[in-house]
Amino acid sequence: MVDLSSARQQQVLAPTPLLKQLPPAARLVLRGRSQVLAAAADALGLPRSETPCRAVRSDVRAALWLGPDERLLLGSADAAAEMHGLLQRALAGMAHSLVDIGHGQVGFEVSGARAALALNTGCPLDLDPASFPPDMCTRTVFAKAQILLWRTGATTFRLETARSFAPYVTQILALAGRES
């Protein structure tokens, strides 16, 4: 597929120690029953996992639990077609839905000792590592926007939001970063 959006892959913000925009990525939303999710994990070389609100990953790919029958599959931007092919072969004949949302949302990395504090200015979840440990991921809200939040490390989060919400989310986060 021709990437018509590449012309408008504008940088939403200049990177700061707190917040930086991640490069474009392959994003596929897969929905199906357990055997579909297991077959997809096998095909992509990811561990099978049904644990709610947890991400599993390999060197190049990740599967994020979005719901009991829903996973967000992440990879590098140039691997989208390859992932699509692997999944279509592995899931042939099984009822499922596979949607490419790669251009629909943008990813950011929020990191540093004050990352959780800055996120909590707009997100009501308890981000203490005891209740939101590394590898936990979930859809939630940030101020008025829906986001996907994934704790990728002790003080590092990956935040994904709809492209149109990105300026809103990042401007509030940048403000929080200055204040916190």
Partner: protein, 100 residues
């Protein structure tokens, strides 16, 4: 902030949820055989409970799933939440005291 326990994700802030109306409203098996009154009752007639009410909620900004809840409408207190297809929890668990 009111906390609601999603049966899949655990305890989450109310902001992430939307209300989905009364639970356990069964669609008639054969709508064509219903009288106008029966069909209108299915479509429009709902309880207006003062007390424990079984209702649907959706974890919109979370796992996206619908689930059911027992809520005391006089105190806006959630007594239990359970997955679609499960029966409402027994009366004993409905008698919980208000949380401090």
């Amino acid at each position: 902030m009111l906390l609601i326990e999603c049966p899949y994700c655990g305890v989450r802030p109310e902001l992430e949820f939307v209300y989905g109306g009364q639970a356990h409203v069964a669609r008639p098996h054969d709508p064509a055989a219903c009288s106008d009154e029966q069909w209108a009752e299915f479509l429009y007639w709902r309880e207006n409970a003062k007390g424990v009410h079984a209702e649907r909620w959706r974890h919109t900004h979370g796992c996206g799933r619908f689930f059911n809840a027992l809520r005391d409408t006089t105190r806006d207190q959630f007594l239990a939440t359970y997955r679609v297809g499960e029966r409402p929890p027994a009366a004993s668990s409905r008698e919980r005291e208000p949380q401090p």
